[in-house]
Amino acid sequence: MPEWIVPALLTIITASTPLVFAAIGEIVVEKSGVLNLGIEGMMIVGAIFAFGVGVTTGSATLAILAGAIGGAAMAFLFGFLTLYLLSNQVATGLALTIFGLGFSALLGHGFVGKTFPGLPRLEIPFLSDIPFIGPLLFGHDILVYASVVAVALVTYMLTKTRTGLLIRAVGENHFAAHSIGYSVNKIRMACVLFGGAMAGLGGSYLSLAYTPLWVENMTAGRGWIALALVVFASWKAWRAFFGAYLFGGITIIQLHAQGFGVEIAPQFLAMLPYLATIVVLVLISSDSSRARLNAPACLGRSFHASG
């Protein structure tokens, strides 16, 4: 086995983890009937919150926490506007992204050029020393493990628990859920905040582990790719996980293709993740019956008790 395989697979994991977080969060949000297009904005604010706190305090734990809080704070803005002031979800999501990109650049102004040592690896004795499998499965940082755990938990929560049933009920028919006494907007707000925290974690991973630097606009469309992944996964968490790794793989292939002597301009290779997103969306949407079956019926519609 060539020795570049393990490092290459490891970089795929690092490239995919931010997408996993963001997509999983958005699945919960959309399942509750809310379409938050502002993932990009929440991710980038999470990224600068995490990086800023990380560099200032030196604590990875606080940095990760700050990233999640930053994402959730942005999500709160979105939730307040769309759920309580009943603003258009598409427009508000766009506003969140525009605001987030500007706000993060403003906050990050003083952090350009600083570095963060990266997240500590959690080596597991013996297991991490197994050749090939060891470095691949054991010896990642906490966020990689957390992303995998999150997929499992969200899948379980949405399909097997009462909470999941409630979220889906609100997303499928908010009037029915309201009429039997559930507070539609509180449930939705909780989901929106969760989605924001997850997007914030995805952003934290970018600035704490993937680069680890602060660069303006460093999310580079990952929030939008995560949004496409949700459709791709037809609102199922484990499918989003595989989708994220597929896209992570494409990103890494494009980065390394030149190392393998592929004679294509780097710009064309860099287009791959975006083109792949379009292709995937077309494939999914051309099978419209399936997309319609899985999409929450109230997706994108605001709820007001007066109807």
Partner: protein, 361 residues
């Protein structure tokens, strides 16, 4: 206790008042933000919003910056009214600029009065071609145009990067990733001596007039509005939704492409790595702030142009990062969307009528 009560019909006056509320709220929030940043808020606001307009040069510059914003925003308004969300105007602007700029480079030595119109037409077609992809995918497969048009923006920016690092790089440019400087015949004429104000602004004003006629006095505008407000009624009336999707994307793509060509042949005069500081995205805010109405977009475009000038001025004068511009733009859209609740609902004091338990707000 505050609560919202659905109005019988949309409030006409609130539609026009809410942008003013939004601007005032943005000013207040901006002053709070400056205070937190440790900057004298009054001085910052003056530097940001008043100083840039102190000179003839500044006012001319305002129109230069507003030109692409107004053009793109009126194009987008058509789509937004019909619930067609083209948010890839930045990509269409880029491809339009490459098409128009490409004509200028192709006929580099041609000194003909036909060159400029040819470039503008090429720019429109370039933007349309880029918008045709989401239009085709949406009408043929039902693919979400928000995501496809946005993904194509990234692709378009990479096409630009490829061309100026490769085939279109100036052979005498010391390896800088820039095209050659355009010939005089490929530069949009200046209409006010000693400033950068160019003929593009006149084109933008024409655009406003044409869009106003189409939107308010023509069947197409009516169909677009009906499809947006009542899709069922539109289909009973026999309006073809697919036609409207194509039409609105062609209008918005073409307008963005035109704006792109005007940018490269006006203020810049060559193709450079960054053609637009996000005009395609800011135009979305302009369209909403202008109430999806051409005349509204004109004023909103001027206001947004001011935020760009203000950002630059604050960077020079007060050493503030010019990212402040993006923050102002985002806040403005937030406050606008929040104020818009008053269009459809009225605020009532006192506890909610006891219809059902639970829902408070």
């Amino acid at each position: 206790m505050l609560r919202l009560e659905l109005r019988g019909e949309m409030s006409r006056s609130m539609i026009y008042w809410s942008p003013f509320f939004a601007v005032i709220l943005t000013f207040i929030a901006g002053m709070i933000m400056f205070t937190i940043l440790g900057v004298d808020p009054l001085k910052a606001i003056i530097t940001f919003f008043i100083e840039p307009l102190n000179s003839l040069d500044g006012i001319a510059e305002l129109f230069v910056k507003a030109t692409p914003l107004v053009l793109i925003a009126i194009g987008l308004s058509f789509g937004f009214q019909a619930n067609v969300w083209n948010i890839g105007a930045e990509g269409q602007l880029t491809i339009g600029a490459l098409a128009g700029g490409g004509v200028a480079l192709l006929f580099f030595n041609v000194d003909s009065p036909l060159l400029m119109p040819g470039m503008l037409i090429a720019g429109v077609l370039g933007g349309m071609a880029w918008a045709a992809i989401p239009a085709f995918l949406k009408t043929k497969f039902g693919t979400n145009e928000i995501l496809t048009s946005l993904m194509l923006t990234y692709v378009g920016l990479l096409v630009l990067s490829y061309l100026i690092h490769g085939p279109w790089k100036d052979p005498e440019g010391q390896n800088f990733p820039e095209s050659r400087l355009f010939h005089d015949a490929a530069i949009i004429p200046i209409i006010l001596e000693e400033t950068r104000l160019h003929f593009g602004w006149i084109i933008a004003l024409f655009g406003v007039a044409i869009a106003w006629v189409v939107m308010t006095r023509h069947m197409i505008g009516f169909q677009i509005r009906v499809i947006g407000m009542a899709p069922m009624a539109a289909s009973f009336a026999g309006f073809k939704e697919k036609h409207i999707i194509w039409l609105t994307l062609m209008i918005s793509g073409g307008a963005a492409g035109l704006a792109g060509t005007i940018e490269v042949s006006g203020p810049v005069g060559q193709i450079i790595p960054v053609i637009s500081p996000g005009y395609g995205f800011t135009a979305i805010i302009v369209a909403f702030l202008g109430r999806l109405h051409p005349v509204g977009c004109l004023f909103a475009g001027l206001l947004m142009a001011l935020t760009y000038l203000g950002g630059d001025n604050a960077q020079i004068e007060m050493n503030l990062p010019n990212a402040v511009t993006g923050v102002f733009q985002g806040m403005l859209l937030f406050f606008l969307l929040a104020s818009d609740v008053l269009v459809r609902y009225r605020v009532r004091f006192g506890a909610a009528k006891k219809v059902t338990a639970g829902e408070g707000a």
